[in-house]
Amino acid sequence: MISTDLLLFFIASSLVVGGGVLVVTVKNIVYAAFALLVAMLGTAGIFLLAFADFLALVQILIYGGAVVVVILFALMLTRIEDFKGLTDNSQKPLAVLASITVLTIMMYAIVSTAMPSSKSDPVSMIDLGVNLFQDWAIPFEVASLVLLVALIGAVVLVRQDDEGR
């Protein structure tokens, strides 16, 4: 008899793998962006099953919201019609070979390493927040600085040359 959480895990992981397969195979690039959204929501489900409620929320907000929207904007600004028929390049057989090799090596490593598995007690969201803002306060601020610099850099990069300078 299959347990409920295992069943939920298989549902979520089929979303993740199905979305991932569509992202790397589908011809229409907008469909690929929506398949990425499905994969990200499946990952949020995986986070929920691993007792990481806050991470699931963050995953839905950042990936489901921000990342997919930004990618759709990039597709819109770079003219979708150009992509028809040039989604795969000539090294496709080599890419299949490389990814299957990597998959085989990783599967072998996973199977040959007996990893004892025992469920931990779930962490409360309060503990996570306290830990993040006490022990990891400085790295947290540095991360926000990195984000700020990256966004300013992005704005400077895409600015028109003939204005503001």
């Binding site: 959480d5 295992l6 895990f9 992981s13 993740v16 793998v17 991932g20 992202v23 790397v24 690039i29 962006a33 990425l36 994969a39 995986i46 986070f47 099953l49 691993a50 990481a52 991470l55 963050v58 950042i62 990936y63 921000a66 990342v67 990618i71 990039a74 597709l75 770079t78 150009d82 992509f83 040039l86 989604t87 795969d88 390049n89 496709k92 080599l94 890419a95 299949v96 490389a98 990814s99 299957i100 990597v102 990783m106 599967m107 996973i110 598995s117 469920k119 931990s120 007690d121 962490v123 996570l128 830990n131 993040l132 991360a143 926000s144 984000l147 990256a150 850099g153 992005a154 895409v158």
Partner: protein, 104 residues
């Protein structure tokens, strides 16, 4: 549900992302595949954090680590999209096969 399920899912997703990075021709699609690979890493990490019988302290640390990974991934995505838009404006294409001006 044990740790090995998370490891298998992560390995499959990482290989899919690797295939996408190598086989796709549009820079935006390559970016999406990189996001898939980052997600595979996060799934592996959360599997280890939650199913290895760690105490509260290490578990919280693992989740904080994943928050940082997501932050850096967002910064990387913003910069990459900006670079792609810039290349599109200069070369009128996002096909990575045409980006070969550094070729010796």
């Amino acid at each position: 549900m044990t740790i090995i399920h998370f490891q298998f899912l992560s390995a499959i997703l990482f290989s899919l992302g690797l295939y996408g990075v190598l086989a796709r021709r549009s820079a935006v699609l390559i970016l999406m595949s990189i996001e898939l690979m980052l997600n595979a890493v996060n799934i592996n990490l959360i599997g280890f954090v939650a199913f290895r019988g760690f105490g509260q302290e290490i578990q919280t640390f693992g989740q904080v680590l994943i928050i940082f990974v997501i932050t850096i991934a967002a910064a990387e995505l913003a910069l990459a999209i900006a670079i792609i838009l810039r290349i599109y404006r200069n070369k009128n294409s996002v096909n990575v096969d045409e980006m070969n001006i550094l070729k010796g």
